[in-house]
């Protein structure tokens, strides 16, 4: 017991020290972690694909994949696929945001509206977006709008719920103050609730990008002839396993960058008022 206490005390000090360390310290750790991941990939892959009958999958190993990745970077076809995919994600999230922002603000603000819609939203949220796929294909003429619909329906629920949650956390004193100054509900929403919820709105967008990026690839399996999901399928059909693996890695990297960009916006704006009163 005593030694445990000692350990805790020592450990808590370690945390304090690591807080004071600079950016390079964090980046160093991140680089080590990444290197470890590649090592596991290399060792695991080498073992697995040295088994009899699996030799043909050698393309999945790090070195062929990295070579294919460099080929991919200079390939204009790949970049047009990236462009097509990001366009779909952006459009889908924009539609979800335009619908979800006012809905989230209103359900967070009016308790009765929240009670009225809460069950429906929770129910719809739990339906896997992929299960809308056949319906989307029946309803929409073009694959393009069907994919857009899938991304919208996948991202609108977290947007609504995160923003509504943010609204319910807005400092009550600010609301009372504005009411005392003569604000009506509309002014309250526009001048207090909306600016005070900006941190949560950014958070909801970050969640939405994460989900949209995951939904995108299976949605692009639908049969469309562009986008990252399509070129993965294409690489499988032509048995270019190194290219297939390189695309998988590229999807990860692009998603990581998209998430990082929003995180950077969140950090750079420094929304002090979450803790401030």
């Amino acid at each position: 017991m005593k030694s445990l206490m000692k350990y805790c005390v020592k450990y808590s000090k370690d945390i304090e020290i690591s807080k004071e360390k600079t950016m390079t310290y964090q980046i160093g750790y991140a680089a080590c972690g990444t290197a470890l991941l590649i090592l596991i990939w290399f060792l695991g892959g080498s073992y697995l694909f040295s088994q009899p009958g699996y030799e043909q999958f050698n393309g999945f190993l790090p070195i062929p994949t990295l070579k294919a990745l460099f080929k991919l970077i200079v390939d204009i076809g790949f970049w047009s696929s990236v462009y097509a995919s990001i366009k779909r994600v952006t459009l889908g999230i924009m539609i979800a945001f335009v619908l979800g922002l006012p809905f989230g603000l209103l359900t967070g603000f009016y308790k009765r509206l929240n009670l009225l819609t809460h069950t429906s939203v929770q129910f719809l949220r739990m339906i896997s977006p992929i299960s809308w796929m056949p319906i989307a294909l029946l309803v929409f003429d073009s694959f393009e709008s069907a994919i857009c619909f899938l991304i919208t329906i996948a991202t609108i629920w977290p947007i609504i719920l995160t923003i509504a949650n943010g609204v319910s956390r807005v400092n009550v004193q600010w609301i009372k103050m504005a009411q005392n100054q003569g604000a009506n509900d509309f002014q309250l929403l526009l001048f207090i609730i909306l600016p005070a919820s900006i941190p949560y709105i950014l958070n909801s967008l970050r969640l939405a990008v994460g989900i949209a990026w995951i939904i995108l690839v299976p949605a692009e399996f639908l049969g469309i002839s562009s986008g990252l999901g399509y070129i993965i399928n294409d690489a499988r059909d032509t048995m270019e396993y190194d290219r297939l693996m390189a695309i998988v890695i590229a999807i990860g990297i692009i998603g990581f960058i998209l998430d990082g960009v929003i995180q950077l916006v969140q950090l750079s704006l420094n929304w002090i008022w979450i803790e401030w009163d």
Binding site: K176, A178, N180, Q181, G182, F191, W273, W276, D277
Partner: protein, 254 residues
């Protein structure tokens, strides 16, 4: 503006269907220009009384008339100063002061009035600063300017100075009295501090008990500015304490 409270009570419904009676049988008449102190222990319903006057809540029985009209919700002519400054951190000092006026569409010579009120609370030069960069005392001054720029008839203050240090508190008390003397509004100031009550009020209303009732109303006829070091201040304070004790014993409350 005169305030009439007639047999006002307030009960809250607690979870499990129980009810809590906070205020009972409050009869009070306040003339225009009074500086009324609501004095009482923590949790005796002082803030509830203020919330009723501000129109944030409504009495369970009885009624509150302001100029013979019942209160039907928050009204800009009844300004409220909260326990915390509650400034909007995304607006600058001058935008915070102008906030209410912009909401009400009261923009006549607004820039001039904002400058004037910022000067009055002694914050000239800080117009473009954002609230998180201000000290607590400065933030109070901003919220004071924001509350007063609309020239309210009634000014409700909910223990506004409790979180300040003694020096800052004394200075703000002095400034508050000066503003009150020049602006001529009715002030209703909630506190649990007897010194503060004697320093500021023309009338002290003592609340106490469960449910809370008015245990005594005392007039203080000292001229301003009052100084805690004066002998007259000391006498008034002592006699108020004695009367307080007497009225509490009378009500079987000690």
């Amino acid at each position: 503006m005169t305030i009439h409270m007639k047999d006002v009570s307030k009960r809250y419904t607690l979870p499990k269907g129980k009810e809590l009676l906070v205020l009972e049988g409050i009869d009070l008449e306040i003339r225009h220009g009074d500086f009324v102190i609501i004095l009482g222990q923590s949790g005796c319903g002082k803030s509830t009384l203020l919330n009723l006057l501000a129109g944030f809540q409504f009495p369970s029985t009885g009624n509150i008339l302001i100029n013979n009209k019942p209160i039907c919700g928050p009204d800009p002519s009844i300004a409220f100063l909260f326990q915390r400054p509650s400034l909007l951190p995304w607006l600058t000092v001058e935008e915070n002061v102008a906030f209410g006026c912009k909401i009400r569409g009261d923009t006549h010579k607004l820039a001039y009035r904002v400058t004037q009120f910022i000067e009055m609370v002694g914050l000239s030069g800080f117009e473009k600063v954002h609230p998180p960069k201000l000290s607590v005392g400065m933030a109070y001054r901003v919220s004071l300017a924001r509350a007063l720029i609309g020239h309210p008839q009634i000014f409700l203050l909910d223990e506004p100075l409790v979180s300040l240090d003694t020096f800052m508190r004394n200075r703000l008390q002095e400034e508050l009295i000066n503003i009150w003397l020049s602006e001529y509004f009715t002030a209703i100031f909630v506190t649990h501090d007897i010194d503060e009550a004697v320093l500021l009020g023309t009338k002290v209303v003592v609340l106490g008990g469960r449910p809370s009732r008015i245990r005594g109303i005392f007039d203080i006829q000292l001229p301003y500015p009052r100084k805690p070091t004066d002998e007259s201040f000391f006498h008034t304070r002592t006699s108020l304490l004695k009367e307080l004790k007497a009225s509490f014993i009378e009500n079987h409350f000690i």
